[in-house]
Every structure is written in structure tokens, then in C-alpha cells.
Amino acid sequence: MSQIKNKSKEFVDTNKIDQSTAQSHEFGYWKSLKDISSSDDYTNYLKQSEHHEDNGLSRRNFLSLVAASVALAGLEGCKKPVQKIIPYVEAEIATIPGIPKHYASTMPFKNNALGVIIENHDERPVKVEGNEKHPASMGKSNSFAQATTLDMYDPDRSRGVRMNGKKVDWSEYVKYAQSMNSSNGNRLAILSQESSSPTIQFMHNEFKKAYPNADWVVYEPINNENLYKGIEKAFGKKLQPFNRLENAQTILSIGSDFLGVEDNCVYHTRKFAQNRDLEDEKSTMNRLYVVESFMTPTGSSADHRLNVPNHEFASVLRELAGELKKLGLKIDAKPVKTSNHLWIKTVAEDLMQNQGQSIILGGSDLSADIHCLITGINNQLKAPIDYYPLNKAHVTSMKDFKSLCKKMAKGSVDNLIILGGNPVYDAPSDCNFEASLKKVKSAVHLSNFYDETSKHCQWNIAQAHFFETWGDAMTYDGYASIIQPQIRPLFDSKSAVQVLTPVIFKEDRSSYDIVKKVWKDSIVNEKNFERKWEKILHEGIYTKPLLSNKKVRTQNKISTAVLNKDQILDENKFEIIFAPSSSVYDGRYANNGWLQEIPKPITSLTWDNAAFVSMKVAKKLNIKNGQMIEISLGNTSVKVPAWIVPGQNQKTITLELGYGREFSGRIGSGVGFNVYPLRTSSNMGYAMNADIKTLNETYPLASTQEHHGLEEDKLAAPGFKDLSTNEVQSRIPDLVKQSTLEKYKEHPEFVQDIVEEHKPDKSRSWEDHSMYNPEPEYDYSKGHQWGMSIDLTSCTSCNACSIACQSENNIPVVGKQQVMNGREMHWIRIDNYFSGDPDNPEVSTQSVACVHCELAPCEQVCPVGATTHSTDGVNQMTYNRCLGTRYCANNCPYKVRKFNFYNYTRDLPEVVQMAMNPDVSMRFRGVMEKCTYCYQRVSEARIKAGNENRDLVDGDIKVACAQSCPADAIKFGDINDPNSAVSKAKRRNRDYALLGQLGTSPRTTYLAKIRNQNPKLSSNNHQGAHH
């Protein structure tokens, strides 16, 4: 008991500190390191958010209430969930302290689902992994799934139920919902997010039964409505396409970032990478063509990339259709010739050559007409796409959304229930959602945070994280799975189902009962339901798909006629693209420190969004990195800092959505710039004819990489500005070894061709002449020797590994200021290098973590022996012994060691501490840290194998990065076991050691990047890959 008391006392203190410095993310993570006492920001914040003020409590009381509720919640969190959930693997009934349990669950994301396994330590979920049995995950995951743990333990989440800012009991809401005017629901509406949940569909049906005239509208700011409309135009009905990339040899993406932020990216990446897994020079691989206007991870992975502004995609497609017609497809198209003719012609030939194995993917922001044409061509190409029935009720309909807004504005909606989402922030500006919402008599907002929308709603209900609630979700191809709660709601939060039950059934029902009922009645129509139910919970997937794919045929003749009207860009005006952010998506992850601080692919930017401009435009308009520019569209304008990005189209400015949140808690509020005001319902994807004005002010942007290979060295001596650019260019082939498939076939051993002077003299190996290590201390040929292989051919730089590592290894978030000082802590950094034409560069990405050198330069120089080698070949850091001379980090040629310049975790709120992995020690200030090969997992597996009286076998140990990598580019295991996956990978002739000429003998080696360039294009489209 006394322990509990102490704990809650501590809690009050922590909370006082972190509340007082909320929102000061610039200096530190949870609180400012410099400015502990300044609480002005937060006071203002409290003033702004009326619901905090109106409850008649003093600020002090409020804080202590919050503190107490967190404390109680925290204690509650240690309890087991009430309903029976089934552990994934272990059979033990009792909890053994220190032994984690794994439960299967599902991460819902819009109208898709990702099967996950959640690692629980002492009934506390701390790590998300993909579920191997789940078809959309296949054991892999993405950065959003990896970072969701931090969302769960976000201390800024909404708590309980509030009515006009006053904290009320849930029963008050139930009473309110029961009393809702039920005259057929004429003046009642529900606004929900996209969902694939059968239970939500059930609720929808029940809702419609209870209130036949009420609206249920679905809105997502980033949606596939145009894709579905295009498919409807082509096939006569809305269907969900499912791209079977495993069967695609030629892929053409038209503005689709299918390896990045587009839906189903885990599946896409996994299956795309599967066909790039080159065993040797005799293997084949798929070929990716990308047409895009700004550099995306997909574009950077492309074998050929065409840089075209979005509004010209139609003309590219028209030309392509013309070529395909020539080659025999039944398309109504005229031959066209533009400057891109050779490129398009070659792509057309390639698509035709691989007919049945070729596919065109269109970006979700393309028009319905373009999607219609793409769908038609795909149909003709016999592209490996399955079409599944689409639950139209639960995808975005802008028409419905707009008419709802109109209704609201007219004052004809009395009760509005907003189930998640933040439409005040992210609705198109012409919908005037905020003004309309104010006309609603009584609005209910179920949300994670007290956000922009909550502010205008009378009822605020804390939304349960999917770790906390029962639910279900389904993949595009109809595989349904259960969302199992891992923990009791920390903040008295509720799920959408719970919010709806009193409205529909006029009584409070648990989501467990409803989910189970739905599954019993309409999904699992089998005898012995209970046993089946347990099995589904255990495995995390119901193996019978609920949907079957539809045979489809195009209704009309495919014609390019619909595309004949070209959009014209006025001179000196720009096309603006609204792109989802790879970090915060549409703004929903704004308060997630891990995602905010992860360097974005291509730009390496953290903590902010920016307007991406091409190098030429920057030169023309005299724009520098971080320079504020004003972008005007009609009467609306926003000010955004610019960032120069290679591969950006000269007619295009890309704006990332999801930033500039006003009410998003202490991490996300005020980070970046809100560009939604420019977005209207007619230009959700891109807008034409924007004006750009260069402003005379700059804004500091935090990028983790200074030199990407193309930018000038502004500070260099006069006349030598391009010195370092040339140097980086000449280093790229040495660091990221690469070739084309064609050249690789001619010269399979090309990775051995290192620049002459780097070649170590075999007769005088470095070891023999080392002053340090005349003879190896260990015999590395014995026992388990850990090693890693990273395949640069399949890596898409998606960041999943880096966040997985952060989650597994308790890596602190340091804040924008520290990132600008070059002190980010990520153990895995992803280097991006550009070469060639700045408008269409070749991108070489490389994820770099400690490579665990057998002859490690860091180990020699540590004065206290804090970094040493283990007998199984791992370069280890002994945090307790480290005194922080930082000599090891200086002497590391890979610069992968990270130093705790401050005590970055000192002020971690206790709730966030719950997200930390108890198997990994937190690092104090003044100590060095780096990749450990997830040694805690190695030890865990070894102990387990020892208990089972067996030796470790390949696959027993999954390190966090390799486990999450959706491209399966990372292999880890015992290099002394010739049959291990890593040994096999290292035996490939593409295997090379990074900076191997230094004689460090790294245990992590890379597989060279191979681009499958089309010989017809490689000469003039790209410069040769291997210099």
C-alpha cells in the first residue's frame, strides 16, 4: 500500500513539471531543458482551451486532479483486462514477472487493417510487431504501427467525458444519448472516419434502423474516393482493388507512392521487394517505372523515373494509351508524341511484353477519369489486380460530406456525433466546417485529443486507443480480425461502438458484447463458436475471407477522350500538391514525438513541414532553404518555409498536410505550418495556378542530413563552392555500391572493384600490422557469431526500422533544437544521396547503424573499457562504465554512436515511461549509446533455448529492425551457421563491407543496390549507375 502511495506522490510531481512546460518542444521533448520555470505558454494554452477553464477549478487543482487521475489510471493499467483475451503463443496461465506475453490484435487504419502482435510486459503493451499470420502484415509493419505505442501512452490524450468543459460521468452521456431526439433522426447525424470494421457496419445498420432519416457520413481528408469513382466508371460499380504485386514484373506508378504513404503500403512493399530479392546475377527482378512530380520513396526506388507535374499526368497517360494501342490493346486513343516519347514508348513496350504481369498504379489524388483509364488499361493488360466488394458506407464521400456541412450550416442538424477525426482542422476550406459546426445545437466529439474540433463540441469523449478496446477490422481482401484490448483504458476512454450504443440501443453495452455478438451472428457461422472465437483471438486472424474477388469487365470501350481537356498552368504560377506526411499523415500523429522526430525520407527533415521547391525554381526566385514563402490560391494564402528538394518538378510545389496543429498537446501544437486552408473539395490532390512570393524572413528547419550530394557548400572558400559536392559524388559509389542489372550480369563481382588505392594488400593484412591487435582475442569461428545483412536493392527508406528500433530500445526524443544541433539519437539513420540530374536524380539510400566491427576503432580508444567486444562478435556498450569521453564516437568511421548530451529522459512523464521496454536500460546523460543488435532479444532467445535444452536455431532471434522491415531487406542471425538467412545473404556476390578498406571487419554488411534499368532508356535517361 505504501508503495502505491509513494508512486502517486511521485506522479503529482512529475506532472507538475511536465504540465508547466507543456508545448515547449523546441528545447526538449517533454519539457524544456533550458527553461523549466517558464509556464506562460501552458497558461495561455489553458486559457485558450475553455474546457479546462470552465470547470471552476483553479489551475493548481486541475493539475493535481489530472495528476491523480493519471496516477490512478496508471495503477489501473497494471491490472489485467476484465474480459478474457487469449495470449498469442504462451500457454502459461499465470503471469511470470519479466516474461513478456504476446497477444494478437489488429491496427485499424482507415478502411484497412494491419494484423499485429503486441508484446506485453507485466500486462503493459510496449511493442508492436506485425502478425505473420495476417495477410496484410505478413509479420511486417510500418512506422505508424511502430509508433502507435507512444500514442497509447500520450499524457496529452483526452480523459473521460466532458460536457461543456466540465468533467462528467459516463452515465451523464448515456442519459444524454438516450434522450436524443429520436423522431426518425431527421435532425441527427453521424460523422465518422473510414472503417473496415464489421462491428461498425453492424452499428451502422442498427443506427439506420433506429433513425431511418439520420445521416451517417464518412470523411477522411486523405481518401481514395477518386480511385473508387474511376473504377465505377470503368466497371459499373465501386470496387476495392487489391494489387497483387508479387505477380507484377513491370510496374508503372503514376503519382502513386505505393511504397510510402499510400494505403496498404506494408503489403505493397513486402510483395514489391520480394521480386527484387536477387540471389545472384542470374536472378530476375521486377522493374519499376515512376511518373511523379516530387521525389517520394517510391520514386527513389524506381528504376526509371519521369518527372512530370501532376496536371500533366493525363497527357502522359494519353500518350501511353496511344502507344499501347499501337502494340495491340483495344483502346480508343490517338498516337501522340511529346518530349517524353521515348520513355513512354519504352514503358508501353515493357508493359506489353509482360502482359499479365504488368500493372499501372495511380495515385489516390488523381482524377476519377484518369483512374478510369488506368483501370481500363490494367484490365486490358490483365494486370494482377483483384477487385473486392467495397463497403461504400464506410469510405469517404465528399458529396455526402458537403451536403452534411450545408445542412449543419442551415441549422438543421441538432445532434451531431463525430466519431474520431478532426474535421475542423482537416476539412476542405470551402466546406466551412467550423462555421457549420457552430450552428449545431449539440455536438459530440469522440477524439484522442482535445483538438480543433473538440473545441467547438459540447461533448468531448476520450477515444480509446486500439490497445484499449474491443473491435474488429478487415483487410481489403476480406480477412477480418479482432482488435483485442491489451490494457484497461488509461484515461477512461471509449470506443466508437460504446459511444453509439446508448444512441442506438438506448442502453450502455460493452463493446466486447457487441463485437462478439456480431462475430457470432454474422461472421463465424460455425458450430462451436466459443472455440473458434478463442482460436481467432489467439491467431489474430479469421482465416476464411469474408469477401471474394469479383470478376470484372470494363463496361464501355476504354477511351482517352475523357482526358482531352488539358489543364493549363499560367506562366510564373505553380501547381500545388497536397501530400500526406510520412510522419504525421493527415495530422493524426501530430502529437507523436517518435514520428515528429523521424527524419523524413528524401528530405531528412524533422519536426516541420515545408514547401518543397525544385533547385531551379529556388535559384530563379532566390529561395534558400528555410526561406519563408507565401503561397496564394485565390484569396487564401499560407506562409510556409521552403526546402529545396532534388527531383522536384519545376512547376510544382509540394506541401505536406498534417502540420500547424493548434490543439494537439505539447508535442504537436504549433509544429509546422497548416496548409489545409489552401485545400478545397475541388482540389483535394493538387491545385493549379498558385502564386509564390518570396518573403524576407527565414525559419529554422531541422534536417538530420547536411549534404545529400547535390547542394553547394555555401560556406566554402570563395570559388570552391562545389568542392564538397564533387567529393560526395565521388564517394557515393564507394559507400552505396550499385550497378544496373545488365552490368551486374556482365560483371557479377563488381563490388570487389574498389578504387585501387583502397584495396588492402592481401599479403599484408591490416590485422598483421595492427599495433592494437597482433592476434585476435577470440576465435570467431566458434560458437554463435551474430551478423547482419542489409539489402540496398529492396530498401525503400520507409523508416519502419528506425522507429521499431526506437520503440524497442527506448531511444529518447530530443526535440527540434537538439536535432538542429545534430544530436538526434536514432540508432539507425538513413542516409540519402543524390546524383546526376537535379531534376531527376538517382537516389542512393542506405540505412546505417553500428556495424559491429570485429576490429572496432571505438573499442581501442575508450579509456575505461566501456565499449568492448563480446565473444559472439557484438560490439557492446557498458553504459554503467561509460564516462563519456566521446572518443569512441570520434573514432567511429561510420558515425553511428549517439551521445546523451543532456539527460533526455529526465522528464519523461510517468505515463510515457509505461511505453518503455523494461528489457532495455534507460541511458543517463553523459553516456554513449548505439545499436546493440537488440542484445536483449539475443539473451532472451538464448535463455529460452537453454530452458528448452536446445541450441539456438536460425529465426529464434528477431531484431527489431529486421522484424519490422516491410521489404525484408534486413537479415540477422548466426554467421557461423551456414544455413542461416544471414549467412546465405552474405554469401551472395553483392555482399560488401561499408568502408571495408579501413580493415574494421564489420559484422553488418550490405548487399549492393541493383537497378533494373531498361537498356533502351539507361543511356539517355539516367547516367550510368556505376561510375
Partner: protein
């Protein structure tokens, strides 16, 4: 008449080094008079200034311990910044003392006698300033004692392969020997002060430290032998300390650090900067205390010659580094040096070249070697140049090493500056206290230059 005109060799030399008909009494009066006289106002002003710098040092140090090394500008990849630059710089300055005392003593260069006490004291305080940094630049200052090979229950031992440990021992050894050497040299002078002391307390304190010195023949014999032995021990240290310091860099793998030329080049640079500092200090003391007849232009000329020599050696090393980088054909090595001269910190490199290579070339001309204002400016430029040399080595090499993905710029913070300024407070506080309480020129040794100290003085030649 003829007798008067012909002077002995000793007399000629004495005339040159100690002009103006000086004898034992005048020297004792002039030198011992300084600590015995009333404290001059200038001293108080300087001391107040030094104390305020010292308080900046203490304040920054406190903040550093409280917050962590994050208050400095260091980052990834530049994990070492001003702290290490200052360490190497102060150690370098500390070189002149031993060189002047020991090596010139062994070579019987009597012109050193006017400046050796100065130089040795400067060495002591410079090494103290230097020794501050290894202790405070670490991340966890409270466990800095882990550098020491202290037997403990965990059986933890320093990693003797680490150059930082060599460094630690080298500098500590140097400090210990320098202290002994300085103190041994002080003993006869302390006895003089004891004998001349007016108050009982002074007599007791000076007497305690004078170790019962009576100036007897046997005592002088022992003294000379001990001094000679210490000089012998110190001499290799002059070469070893900075060689070992240089191995912090030379044994590493980083281009720009990984060079075998470092040990001799560091030693030359150290002597160069040490003489620069001795010059600065002696020019000030000479002015403040009117000691122009003891620290003469002849002494300054000799020091300038040594600065010309060592400055040119350093210049040669700079050139040789470039040659080797080019000759090696190693891309990374070559770029490290090109980046020094032409990269974003090019100005730092050219400041170094100007101060260390170009400026001392004026010392080919006697005019400049004896031009006091010129010497003063040069002596300061030398130490600016030598600071930049360490900046060039530490920061420019680190900020762009092997992987461009990890390249970054380094920006010092106010706390980098304040701790550096603070060490001047430490240095000058110590030095001013020395000037106040101890004879700044070795009386016993200065007298050796006089003809009277020649055993044959007074006898017909």
C-alpha cells in the same frame, strides 16, 4: 687605462644580458623588492580582472556539471570541441617552461636565467589549466576518476590501449616533474626572501618552504646536482608530452588525425606557442615592474629566434601533411586536407597559416626581433594561430569524415567561450599570486651571469 678597456669574456656577456653595471646586491634588491614592496595598484586591477574571469570559469563549470556537456556546441559528428582544443592549447603553452629550464640549462644557455622562473611558472599554471579539461569535458564528470588505475572491488581497470590514458599519465608526469623543478629552483630564492622578511609570519612561511637553505658549499653542490638530474628527467618529457597528446589524434582512424607526422609537429607547435606565451607575459612584467635591465632585448631576440625556428617547423609540417595526403592517393585523406583549406572553415585554416607560418618569418630580420610592440603583437598572434591549429585539427577533421550522410557543422556556444575565458582567469589568478609572493626572476641564477659569480673573478687573467 688599458686594463679598464679590456673586459673579460664573462664581463662582456654579463654586459649583454644584464646591462648597467649590476651586482649581487642590485639584483637581489630589484627582484626580491617586488614581493616585498607594497602591492601596486596595477596588480590589484589585474588581479580583480583575473578573479572575475575565474568566477566565470567557476560559474560555467557549475552549470556544466548541472546540465551536462550539452551546453557546449559539440554534436554528432564533432564530439570534441573547444574543451579539447583548449586542453591541447594549454598543454602546448606549458612546453616552453621545461624547454627553457631544462634543455637550455643542459646546454648552458645562460640567457635563459632571466626568464626561466617566468616560463616555469607559466608552465605550471598552463598545465593546471590544461588538466582541467580532461576532467570536465567528459559526460559524467563525477566519475572522471575512473581514468586512474585505482584498485577496486569490481576489478575494473583503465584500458591501457587508449591514448587518453597515455595522455593522462603523460600530462600528470609532466606536471609533477615541472612542479619539482620549479620548486627546486625556488629554494635559494625562498631562503633569500626568508632572510629579508620583515614580519615573523613571512619569515616562517618562506622559511618553511626554503627547507633550511643556508647557502653553504655542500648545499650548493647538492642543489646543482639535483637541478641537473631534474633537468635531465624533464628533457625527454618536453618531447614526450606533446607527442603523447598528439597520439590522441594520430592513433585514430579519422582522416586528418591519422598521421605519423603529428608527434614532432605537435612538439614544435607546443614550443612555438609556449615561447609566444612567455614572450607575452615577460613583455608585460618587464613593463609593469620596470625590469628592462633584467629581461633584456637580448633575451627577447633569442626567444624570437626560437619562435622563427619552431614556426617554420610547424609550417613545414603543414606543407608535409598536404604532400602526404596527395601522395597517398587516398581519397578520404586528400579531401580532409582540401576541406581544411577550402571547406566551410577555410578562414580558420588561413588564420592559422597567417599566424603560425607567415608572421614569424619577420624574425629573419633583427629589427623585428628587437621591436618590442611588434614582438608583443606577434606573441599574441602566435597563440591565436596555435589555437586555430587545434581548431583545424579537432573540428575540421571531425565535421566531415568518411560518410557524408553524417557530416555536420559545428557551432560553439557561449559556454564554450566562457569556459575558455575562464581558464585565463585561472591562469592569471595563479600567475599574479606568483608575481606577488615569489621572485619572478631566479635571483640565484641571474647572478650566475654576473662576472662576480665566476670563481676566478678578481684574479688577473
Amino acid at each position: 687605462m688599458l686594463d679598464n678597456k679590456i673586459k673579460s669574456k664573462a664581463e662582456v656577456r654579463a654586459e649583454k644580458l644584464l646591462p648597467g653595471n649590476q651586482n649581487f646586491t642590485t639584483i637581489t634588491n630589484d627582484i626580491a623588492g617586488v614581493p616585498e614592496a607594497k602591492t601596486p595598484v596595477q596588480w590589484w586591477l589585474l588581479f580583480g580582472f583575473a578573479l572575475s574571469l575565474l568566477s566565470i570559469f567557476v560559474g560555467t563549470l557549475g552549470f556544466l556539471v548541472w546540465e551536462g556537456t550539452g551546453i557546449w556546441g559539440i554534436n554528432n559528428p564533432v564530439f570534441w570541441g573547444w574543451a579539447i582544443i583548449n586542453f591541447v592549447w594549454w598543454v602546448g603553452i606549458g612546453h616552453a617552461g621545461t624547454l627553457i629550464s631544462a634543455i637550455l640549462h643542459l646546454f648552458r644557455q645562460n640567457w635563459r636565467n632571466a626568464i626561466n622562473r617566468f616560463a616555469e611558472t607559466m608552465t605550471l599554471f598552463a598545465v593546471i589549466c590544461a588538466l582541467v579539461f580532461p576532467g570536465i569535458h567528459v559526460g559524467r564528470i563525477w566519475v572522471a576518476y575512473w581514468f586512474l588505475p585505482l584498485p577496486n572491488q569490481m576489478g575494473m581497470w583503465p584500458n591501457m590501449r587508449s591514448p587518453l590514458i597515455w595522455d593522462f599519465f603523460a600530462v600528470f608526469t609532466y606536471f609533477t616533474v615541472s612542479l619539482l623543478f620549479w620548486y627546486t629552483g625556488l629554494i635559494p630564492d625562498l631562503a633569500t626572501l626568508r632572510d629579508r622578511a620583515k614580519t615573523n609570519l613571512k619569515r616562517k612561511i618562506y622559511g618553511f618552504f626554503a627547507l633550511g637553505w643556508r647557502g653553504g658549499n655542500r648545499q650548493w653542490q647538492h642543489y646543482e646536482l639535483a637541478y641537473l638530474v631534474l633537468a635531465g628527467i624533464s628533457t625527454p618529457l618536453v618531447l614526450s608530452v606533446h607527442s603523447v597528446v598528439s597520439s590522441d589524434f594520430a592513433t585514430s582512424i579519422i582522416p586528418g588525425w591519422h598521421t605519423t607526422i603529428f608527434p614532432p609537429y605537435f612538439v614544435a607547435g607546443a614550443i612555438y606557442s609556449g615561447f609566444g606565451m612567455v614572450m607575452t607575459l615577460s613583455l608585460i612584467a618587464r613593463k609593469v615592474y620596470n625590469l628592462g635591465h633584467i629581461i633584456t632585448v637580448e633575451h627577447l631576440d633569442k626567444m624570437a629566434q626560437i619562435m622563427l625556428l619552431t614556426g617554420s617547423m610547424v609550417g613545414y609540417a603543414y606543407a608535409m601533411e598536404f604532400f602526404v595526403a596527395w601522395y597517398s592517393g587516398n581519397q578520404y585523406e586528400s579531401f580532409a586536407f582540401i576541406n581544411r583549406a577550402l571547406g566551410p572553415y577555410w578562414w580558420g585554416y588561413w588564420v592559422m597559416i597567417f599566424c603560425n607560418v607567415i608572421v614569424p618569418q619577420f624574425f629573419w630580420f633583427k629589427r623585428y626581433r628587437r621591436h618590442i610592440p611588434f614582438l608583443f603583437i606577434t606573441s599574441i598572434l602566435v597563440n591565436i594561430g596555435m589555437w586555430f591549429e587545434r581548431f583545424v585539427i579537432v573540428v575540421i577533421s571531425l565535421h566531415r569524415d568518411f560518410m557524408p550522410g553524417a557530416w555536420a557543422m559545428y557551432n560553439p556556444t557561449i559556454f564554450d567561450v566562457s569556459i575558455y575565458l575562464g581558464t585565463f582567469g585561472l591562469f592569471f589568478t595563479g600567475f599574479l599570486l606568483f608575481l606577488r609572493f615569489l621572485p619572478m626572476v631566479s635571483m640565484a641564477e641571474a647572478k650566475l651571469v654576473l662576472p662576480e659569480s665566476n670563481p676566478h673573478h678578481g684574479h688577473k687573467e
